[in-house]
Amino acid sequence: MVTDAYSVREGLGEAAAFYRSHPLLNFSYFAIVIGVTMFAMHPVFLLSSFFMAWCYSILLRGIKAIRFNCLVLIPAILLMTLFNTLNVHNGVTVLFYLNDNRITLEAIIYGLASAIMLTSVIIWFSCFSVIVTADKFIYLFGRAAPVLALTLSMIMRYIPLLQHRFREVAAAQRCMGRGLKGSSWIKRIRQFGKEVSILIAWSLEASIESADSMEARGYGLRGRSSFHLFRFAGGEKVLLAAILLLGGAVVAACAAGSMSIYYYPAILLPRFTVLQWISLAAYLGLMSIPMVLDMRGIHEWKLSHAAM
């Protein structure tokens, strides 16, 4: 699927149709999906969220999303499975005894399930960071909680900024002949420490100037409006209603226990009844809304390009 607007390598990014939707849609979608993912431990729901998270992250961020996702998934699986198995000794199926403690299959499976849940949440957050930018955040929370919105948007800005600054510091040091490569171990560590201290000093001074300038412009005051072009487009009210309805159904099903599962002492799955099928359908439908929108956006773009 290679078009001018969308390259598989780079992903849609901010060209996504969901990006251009109203921030309320974006935020409510992610809030519901991430919230339900954290509480639905039933393997079917867990795996469907995991699968959808992967699909959407690859659609938005391209092939490099696969590398990021694997970088999160593999340590999560190793650490959580190990940690859970060594600390929890509940479970009927004993694999072997370690120092008087049982290593059970149920503990391993629960560790795996927790790792998959954690990875899904982190991948959903990576999609969230592409779609919900700082200005959308301030727009949504600017009236209600200006200081919180401001702090969060600053955090979102600072991480790539610090990375960029560090690269500049390292480049400058290299040009001065104090590069990191080639010297002994101790020298490299000292040089790295020096670069970090330069970065910190620069960032602290810059943040003081930044703070003064923002205060002078009235950031953080209640009622400060920010310029935005967020309007509800044609079908978006219907879409918002659909998200809230499906989301509400899924949350209600979760609260009623249809997504719960007992892992100890033996794995007890609730029977998969019609209610479960309905909630699974609602869950999958809810999660696929942005992907459908984005695909339709790509299709419309291709059509409009062909017409030219």
Partner: protein, 136 residues
């Protein structure tokens, strides 16, 4: 000289399984409430109640889980036979009594003497339902 004591593990308070919040434990709750009937066990002098429990449950194939807790100056029993603390509500857990009295301190602190009768009981009410009125 052989030193012996007796050990019993009971869960009468959850025989009525409607009290259990964790439904998966229900098949593992014995109907008569006896997880381990009164058994005479040998011990070496200097062993505490926890070590006796650990040995007996391992020998008899009964699941037991503990953690080291500084609050109890030693081991704290989280669960026996898949029945864990808080499975029967927020006030539930395992308590032990020796010779009919609840010592009310950690089981690593009670050193077993010859002829002691140790009973481990599951309570759903911080001890009140198994006869421990000492603290109230």
């Amino acid at each position: 000289m052989i030193h012996t004591c007796t050990l019993e593990i009971r869960c009468d308070t959850v025989v009525d399984t409607s009290k259990l919040e964790n439904e998966a434990v229900i098949p593992y709750v014995p109907a008569n409430g006896v997880i381990l009937a009164t058994t005479e066990v040998e011990y070496t002098p200097g062993e505490n109640v926890f070590e006796v429990l650990k040995r007996v449950t391992r020998d008899q194939g009964i699941q037991m889980e503990f953690r080291d807790d500084p609050l109890y100056s030693g081991a704290y029993i989280e669960g026996i036979n898949y029945l864990y603390e808080f499975d029967g509500g927020t006030l539930s857990g395992w308590m032990y009594k020796v010779n009919g009295q609840f010592p009310n301190y950690g089981c690593s602190q009670y050193f077993v003497e010859d002829g002691d009768e140790i009973v481990w009981m599951y309570t759903c009410d911080l001890g009140r339902d198994v006869g421990d009125n000492s603290t109230w």
